[in-house]
């Protein structure tokens, strides 16, 4: 996603740091600030580390629209103790992507991507090999699919083999309209959550408060969980994966909630003016 110039700089910085400590660890920045706090600037909120303003990787001043989100991001920076582990700071990363837009995407690109994704949604593929797993999938995924059809007033077929199920043009139209009703940061976050869950349907269910992030991740990993009952659970693989996905989904959900909140506030102000 980064431009090649930035990529090269990044690689160089990693390589130079690696050679310093014997090539053993990844480059991590040390915590260089004491306090992470927020300041309000006009109607935007900025995060400060001591007296410095936080910036995005492209050098823009980092700002968000609501106080709650700014505070959550300041808390995220405050939670970095010795080194700053940026890969696990999803809220910051999502806001950075929305501000910098390194992929040069617009809302339509993301909406199209999500619609393409729908045909390969995890919860549309039922097992054709194991009867027991299929029953479990029907029991767990059934209510979600039912919710999905009812919520958008559409019909969606499922697949029992590798062939993706057909998605009608009507479904695409309804969902496209729904996706485009979100603003860019929210859609970007929706994409991030969808890629974690491998399922637009589960992500929509989370956004609609039908599922909690924890439950959605459980449903996305249903087959894995089923296999775990038989083969055992390894914390550094399965649990790590589970907590990572849950934190990703919860982070994207927070961003989406944040921008929908803003929209309802805006809508109300307009009504008062008129």
């Amino acid at each position: 996603m980064l431009s090649t110039k930035f990529q090269r700089q990044f690689l160089l910085s990693i390589l130079s740091k690696q050679s310093q400590n014997g090539g053993r660890n990844y480059a991590t920045a040390k915590r260089f600030y004491r306090r992470a706090d927020i300041v309000q600037n006009e109607n935007k909120w900025e995060v400060t580390l001591d007296h410095r303003r936080l910036k995005t990787p492209n050098g823009l001043v980092f700002n968000v629209n609501t106080e709650g989100l700014a505070r959550a991001i300041a808390a995220e920076w405050d939670a970095q103790h010795d080194g700053i582990s940026q890969p696990s700071m999803h809220l910051t990363a999502l806001c950075n992507t929305a501000l910098d837009n390194p992929g040069k995407l617009n809302k339509h690109d993301i909406a199209i991507h999500l619609l393409e994704y729908l045909a390969t949604d995890t919860v549309l593929f039922f097992s054709d090999e194991e009867e027991e797993l299929r029953l479990l999938q029907e029991q767990k995924w059934g209510p979600v699919l039912e919710w999905f059809e009812k919520r958008f007033n559409i019909k969606q077929e499922v697949s029992r083999d590798f062939q993706p199920p057909p998605v009608t043009s009507e479904t695409r139209a309804v969902l496209a309209r729904h996706f485009l009703s979100y603003d860019f940061p929210a859609l970007n976050a929706m994409n991030f959550g969808t890629e974690a869950l491998k399922s637009p349907i589960l992500m929509l269910a989370c956004v609609d408060r039908f599922l909690q992030p924890k439950e959605a991740v459980m449903l996305a990993r249903l087959e894995e969980e089923y296999q775990l009952q038989r083969w055992g659970r390894v914390p550094w693989a399965h649990e790590l994966n589970q907590v990572e996905l849950t934190s990703r989904v919860a982070a994207s959900l927070l961003i989406i909630q944040n921008s929908t909140e803003l929209h309802t506030e805006k809508a109300k102000k307009k009504a008062e003016e008129s």
């Binding site: 014997g22 090539g23 053993r24 660890n25 990844y26 004491r34 706090d37 927020i38 106080e67 709650g68 505070r71 959550a72 300041a74 808390a75 995220e76 405050d78 939670a79 103790h81 582990s85 696990s88 999803h90 809220l91 408060r209 909690q212 992030p213 924890k214 914390p235 550094w236 649990e239 790590l240 907590v243 990572e244 849950t246 934190s247 919860a250 982070a251 959900l253 927070l254 909630q257 309802t264 109300k268």
Partner: protein
Amino acid sequence: MASISSKTALTTLRQLLSELRKQSSSPKLAENQMARYILSQYRKYQTTDQQLCKAADEMHFRAKSYCEYLHNARRYREINTEFKGKGERTVGETANMVGFKMPHDPK
């Protein structure tokens, strides 16, 4: 389940504060800006979270999402540090393991 002062919502509050205490760099929770903000939000929506045209349960759902984010991000870091590999061995170390010496080492 409309009010945020219901029992489940207060459980979430307790979990949230506990997560913040585990992650925050200052020992006192009263100094933590996020903890103060959460408490003020809880007070604001104490009677009902349906005011300001919010759907029933919306604030509680948000609190739960944030709590899950904090909890899982912390667990991720914990598991990662617990099982983190040390990276690759250097050529010298590998040579040492099998009883060889580097060309520039004294015989």
